[in-house]
Amino acid sequence: MKKGTIILIIIAAIIVLLGARVISGYNQLVELEQNVEGRWAQVENQLQRRADLIPNLVETVRGYASHEQQVFSDVAEARSRLLAARTPEEQMEANAGLDSALGRLLAISEAYPQLKADTSFIRLQDELAGTENRIATERMRFNESVQTWNTTIRKFPMNLLASMLGKEPKRFFEAAPSAQEVPQVRF
């Protein structure tokens, strides 16, 4: 065999190997990105679920504390901002706003013993607390998937492929300090 042919074969082999590596790397990136998006959809589900609970909660509180107009309109405004938000970043911001407005709404209930004893208010509070725990769980799972994504695209040689495809690190969903205090029904 001629020397040229051998070199050609070697080059071809290298190209095939590299190609296989690139393809599997690409597939891995697609999979990981899909995973992050799927996790985010779960977070969104729970945010939506909480937004759905709010009108009922506001109505119940209004029944006992009708003059607290400011808080009601704050909550309504924060809720519509969350529903209008489209990108994950916007949703995270809007969610923090809703957290604090809701905190104030629930703080009001402390001043109304009859409201606190209302069965449907207790049920709504349970639903709300449960949903906030779900948000916390889905947030944790989302952050884990972001962590995997971010590490993968920073490691060699995946970083070369990732930068060629314009893939960037994704942002974590951090809990707002006020969101840490999940409302608890205490006795």
């Binding site: 899909q34 995973n35 799927g38 996790r39 959809a41 779960q42 969104e44 589900n45 729970q46 939506q48 679920r49 759905d52 209302d118 069965t119 449907s120 207790i122 049920r123 709504l124 509070q125 349970d126 639903e127 607390a129 449960g130 949903t131 725990n133 779900r134 916390a136 769980t137 889905e138 944790m140 799972r141 884990e144 998937s145 995997t148 999940v182 608890q184 029904v185 205490r186 006795f187």
Partner: protein, 251 residues
């Protein structure tokens, strides 16, 4: 040289993280059966009653009920511990139809968490109402066994399709309301299909709809096969998952 040092440093950090994760992991005891009285606060009779209830639930409806008492959930708070334990044990079958009742003695906490598959039949508000009406009267007196048994009976009845009467809530005549609701639903569905394109992601309804890829994270065991560990030949739970819902109380 510099690089090597960095590598060694990274290695040490990784080992530490791993050890920490392992320590948190090891904090979860192995399941002994449906009833796990790790805190030794349940009397014989309650234990066997709970055991019978759980066996029946699994036999009749394929639902796995786990009752757990622990001395403390430290360093996690009771709710975090409950969610983590649920997913670590994998309570509930492939339908994610599991229910975990956890009582933490030091925290004076009761937490009840449904798997994804039971969120529809057992909304958080109902779970909380059962705790209030069936559990709390016993827990405040320190009778943990009676409280857990009464709650388990109520949940089993709800899961079997019976209605749970919530104290202080007025009963509405649901006959016409129901037909009206169905009517409105049909109208809404028809309109929605005609005018709006189907939306992805969107509204979070019942539990069964959110079955996406599950990646076992560092702290969660994820679905696993029955392992047969533990005493008394308990076959393990079926690999169910939960999303952190449910309700809890301090007593």
């Amino acid at each position: 040289m510099e690089k090597k040092r960095k590598l060694v440093g990274l290695g040490i950090v990784l080992v530490c993280v791993f050890a920490l994760t392992a320590a948190v992991w090891a904090a979860f005891p192995q399941p002994q059966g449906f009833v796990n009285d790790f805190a030794n606060v349940l009397d014989r009779r309650s234990q066997s009653e709970l055991q019978v209830l759980a066996e029946q639930l699994r036999k009749d409806q394929g639902i796995e009920l786990a009752v757990v008492t622990v001395a403390t959930t430290d360093p996690l708070d009771p709710k975090e511990y409950t969610t983590a334990l649920f997913n670590e044990w994998g309570i509930g079958g492939p339908e994610d139809s599991g229910l975990l009742m956890l009582l933490a003695v030091a925290e004076r906490a009761i937490e009840v968490e449904p798997g994804y598959g039971l969120e529809g039949v057992l909304p958080d508000g109902l779970i909380g109402a059962v705790i209030d009406q069936e559990g709390m009267p016993h827990f405040t007196k320190g009778d943990y066994g009676a409280g857990l048994t009464a709650m388990a009976k109520a949940y089993a009845a709800i899961l079997a399709g019976e209605e749970f009467a919530i104290a202080g809530e007025r009963k509405v005549d649901t006959g016409w309301l129901f037909s009206f609701f169905i009517f409105v639903l049909i109208v809404l569905l028809l309109r929605r299909n005609r005018f709006y394109p189907p939306r992805g992601g969107g509204v979070g309804g019942g539990g069964s709809g959110r079955r996406t890829v599950f990646v076992p994270g560092p702290t969660f065991g994820g679905p696993r096969m029955p392992t047969g560990r533990g005493s008394g030949g308990f076959g393990g739970f079926g690999g169910g998952r939960s999303g952190g819902g449910g309700a809890g109380r301090r007593f």
